[in-house]
Symmetry: C2
Subunit: 361 residues, 2 copies
């Protein structure tokens, strides 16, 4: 029966906000209870504020961020449609795979891990794609891909953006940047346990939704009728994960109570403090300068350090979790998250102190 | 901010077990933390006990019961496969729809709502189906469909059973009855909030899994590598809903601590008390005698009662939620659940007392 009290500085989940923990154990309600329906509506309103959108079709999907990715593709891709997908890490790879399983002809635009993808290459990759898709914040590399310029140049394509690790951590402007479909996860900068995938769909994309997508569970036409964002009466689809919606509602309340821009600033400050601290100790950052995420820092493991042993030591001595590298960078890179409630200067101070212990021994 | 303390006697969710509520707010762990991985393994072991199976591929899917349904079909159905589907309520209809979206040629075997499906008709519906699928406990009608005899007669077909409302409420014998794929939901007789879908897959079915199903999120090949039930090393797939897994682990602990058969007996006793009480008051039960679920009782609304007003009165005066009828029986039938922690004689006594108030006024 685990009771260990971790400081979660990996690539997610983060430590949830205290308000969120409290909300998880509110007395259970039915999914059609008037009190729950009102709370769900308010949750969708709060999601619109955090996504910076007025999209009516904005709701929490009953799955994790990867369910958001799948929903994004299966609801707009028709067999043979071209999907241009940016690939510079694990989650770009996943997008390409999910798009392909949805029946798309995938055109990959690659960049080295640690490098951002040039938006001009995404825009020029195909003359008439149905979808242009990119990961905003690559959790596998700590790189921020440029999104803002894609909206202006997308033409007739839908712009589909993975905001799992960016939402509430760095600026995301769904309406301002012309994003058609954005999805996220709850366990990153929203400070909520994993389990839901917020998603928002522009009116332009809603007009192109596949009428009967291959997934019934993630069918946005049907889901929109339950959350009440669509026209017409509210219709039962599936039983919403009540406690998780309570948690998300509270996490969004924490973010908006602080102020969304203040949340961005706090993540930015913590990331800066960590990255400066690592640099001051002679460690080399992995992600390209100018495209480093504050909420997820990647750093080369210093020479002479057994990285797995070091992570185990952090976990066992201090209860600090950090992440290892993925793919070709397993054993070579650490991924250090400062997301949601974990994004506090005290956690940066603690981590740097623990790192000093490691480097001294 | 809802704080209303409901007695949840609808078709689910039920009130969670106290142990479950406590478990929800255990300190968050990472999805690769050794303590979490051990707890996940133990959760899968407990699921095997509750499903009565030794199937290695047994795990909680990161979605609600309907995600379990979708996973069951998309992982075994190949384009053009025949799926024989029993349809005598909303969830049988949903199965037919999900099977069709997975590419199956669906052969429907129907029975009237309130009646069970004759297993012989399911077995005789097609000479060589890939799948025979049925809902064990129809939540829309309160009917139990026979499953036991399907296993013996299934031939080369895979037997796929929806156990959302049956698991831990009435006997389910995955190995004993020859079920190849069974899935459930957490918010019914397991006494856990909604959000996960336990699923179990026989070795026979595992050999026939689609190599690259249309859903990446619900791909059982990939999921089995994370939960460690498959051969080979444990591989990250997606971030598990940590708090919900804590909750499921605790709910299964409550069920197994009581004893699975004692849980069946408690549900049976509560259902009997309720159905006798309704009969004694002159109300007519909806589901066919001999096939009535104890955990979900359907009853015709008495003449002269405004059913929506009556349900509102129960909710507002006593905080009791019951469900209305679905489809053609909306406004005509009530659905009264006694599931999980809600399945207590005191809740039956309370409901019958509240019903007496309603009938007197």
């Amino acid at each position: 029966m685990p009771r260990s009290d971790r400081i979660l500085m990996g690539p997610g989940p983060c430590n949830p906000y205290p308000e969120v923990v409290e909300a998880m154990i509110r007395p259970m309600l039915g999914h059609l209870d008037p009190e729950f329906v009102a709370l769900l509506d308010e949750t969708c309103d709060r999601l619109r504020q955090v996504f910076r959108t007025t999209n009516p079709l904005t709701l929490p999907l009953s799955g994790t961020g990867s369910a958001g990715m799948e929903a994004a593709f299966v609801n707009v891709v028709r067999p043979g449609d071209v999907a241009v997908v940016g690939v510079n890490g694990v989650f770009g790879e996943r997008m390409a795979e999910v798009a392909s399983r949805a029946g798309a002809e995938v055109v990959r635009v690659e960049a080295d891990w640690g490098e951002p993808i040039d938006p001009e290459r995404l825009l020029a990759a195909h003359p008439s794609p149905a979808v242009i898709a990119v990961v905003h914040a690559e959790t596998s590399t700590g790189v921020r891909n440029d999104v803002e310029s894609l909206g202006a140049g997308k033409g007739d394509a839908l712009l589909l953006v993975d905001c799992v690790t960016s939402l509430a951590g760095i600026p995301v402007e769904v309406d301002g940047w012309g994003i058609d479909i954005a999805y996220s996860g709850t366990q990153k900068c929203l400070g909520v346990p994993p389990g839901l995938a917020p998603i928002t769909v522009s009116e332009r994309a809603r007009e192109r939704l596949v009428e009967r997508p291959q997934s019934w569970y993630l069918d946005l036409n049907l889901l929109g009728r339950y959350t009440g964002s669509a026209t017409g009466p509210r219709t039962y689809h599936h039983t919403a994960p009540i406690s998780m919606v309570f948690a998300l509602h509270a996490g969004l309340g924490a973010v908006l109570g602080e102020g969304l821009e203040d949340s961005w600033h706090r993540h930015a400050e913590c990331g800066r403090l960590l990255q400066e601290g690592l640099h001051a100790r002679g460690l080399r950052l992995f992600a390209k300068a100018g495209h480093r995420l504050p909420e997820l820092t990647t750093v080369w493991v210093p020479d002479g350090i057994d990285e797995a042993k070091a992570r185990r030591c952090l976990l066992e001595r201090h209860g600090i979790e950090i992440g290892g590298g993925l793919g070709a960078f397993a054993g070579k890179v650490w991924r250090i998250g400062l997301m949601g409630h974990t994004a506090r200067p005290r956690n940066v101070a603690l981590f740097l102190a623990a790192l000093d212990e490691l480097l001294d021994t």
